[in-house]
Amino acid sequence: MSSRAVGEAIAAAHRDEWARIVAALARRFDLDTAEDAAAEAFAVAVERWPADGIPPNPGGWLTTTATRKAIDRVRREARREQKYQEAQVLYADDAPSPTGVIDDDRLRLIFTCCHPALAPEARIALTLRMVGGLTVPEIAHAFLVQESAMGRRITRAKAKIKANHVPYRVPSAADLPARLEGVLAVLFLVFNEGYLATGGKSDPIRADLTQQAIRLSRLLHTLLPDDGEVVGLLALMLLTDARRPARISATGELITLGEQDRSLWDRELIEEGHRLVRGRLAAVAAGGPPPGRFQLLAAINAVHTYPQRAGDTDWFQIVTLYDRLTSIDPSPVVALNRAVAVAELDGPEVALALLDGLPLDGYHAFHASRAEMLRRAGRVAEAREAYTRAIALTGNTAEAAYLTRRRDEL
């Protein structure tokens, strides 16, 4: 067995099976034990597969090995007063309880990791660790946090889950929409941190994070195929990530949507994204529930990615979609993005009036958008000031480089 083939098989098993293994173990053990045992099973695979060969069912082999490791651990830690509990764990009926389409262990794991009792950053870290299979150093690196601090954050989150008896289950139908919203928010945050990475030392785009977010969204879509917002989020990520190859110049500068070389866009991702959006349009037209935030954002991105040339963008449709988005999410950030579209339709002065008074003074995109509109309106001094403010606020190196050049051209 070539070590390369084994390495690939282990990497593939890690990518495809990690969440399933941890989730299956979490049904019988606590999250800590589930995670450690899964990691140990992969370590055993690294040791054994080169000599013994890749098992015919790697996922099954890993789950069995991880289960044994978990039982060993419980035995090691078992104390007299826990004998009864131990016996329950060890001799529990091994036959998995019947699982319907929605009642997947992995889905329960996702909802447990994104429980509203946990702080948002703990939800992100825990989801990446338990469902995504990222290591603690990888997560710490992704969010520019010390490894030890990230380790503590994850440990604390797991301890809170255990001490509080956070249930390992998919929320009831009545609670599902609210809880799912929290899950989608976590995935979107992971994606955004990858797409416009913050931190002076970070790469401007973190493809590992955007890919991880897409992978987790695909998983969620497989588990909840009928949820419109899950489809919307996946489509939004695909249509956004498709533009990634065109987004940074050779000199490390951000290239805005209007100026990107569209031949560099990933056509396959765009096709898939458009297909998903069309599916949602058909579902809504057939009397389904009205589109939520992610579906509307996906639709906006579908309009952006449709034409061959930026000049052919249907801005009227984009403004219309932003109007609908405003009616369900009247946040200042949505108002900002709508104003950017209005600038294309009605000119910069009209859009600037819309920006007046938005409480976004600490947000880099607000000043960057204002700067572009002021430039187009010929208000040079104000534009220069707005660029300077945007540069000071952005944490992304490519965006800072782009804004600096634009300012210095004035």
């Binding site: 104390r79 001490a163 956070v166 249930p167």
Partner: protein, 128 residues
């Protein structure tokens, strides 16, 4: 079954009607809280619940030295103090949070939900 403390904090200084704006509000909150307690009992969650007299009625006792030392006032200088609490038994946190939401509505205050230590936690402390 796990036990949770659901505690309600209120300002250190109370108004004439507890922490309520008017007497009517206070009486209505008492009635709603009573009804919530009845529900907890009826559905088997109730362990114990009560309200506390204002924080300035507290006395702190330190018996660690040769002679106990008595200090007037609550243990902490704080803007908010524990005003009342429930002890409940619930199968999991989701149930506890749902009950806390109802309790919060009834008593017109924010409710902190916190699990009690269990035998496992104690053993871990002892072993550490």
């Amino acid at each position: 079954m796990p036990r949770y403390l659901m505690s309600v904090f209120g300002p250190a200084e109370r108004t004439d009607f507890g922490n309520y704006p008017t007497k009517e509000d206070m009486l209505q909150a008492f009635e709603d809280t009573g009804a919530f307690n009845d529900k907890l009992q009826r559905e088997g969650y109730f362990v114990f619940a009560d309200g506390l007299a204002p924080a300035d009625t507290a006395t702190v006792v330190d018996g660690q030295g040769d002679q106990p030392v008595f200090t007037d006032g609550p243990y902490l200088e704080a803007k908010e103090h524990l005003g009342g609490f429930w002890v409940i038994e619930a199968p999991d946190l989701d149930v506890a949070l749902q009950l806390a939401a109802e309790g919060s509505k009834a008593c017109r205050g924010r409710v902190e939900v916190r699990p009690f230590q269990n035998a496992d936690d104690l053993q871990q402390l002892i072993d550490s």
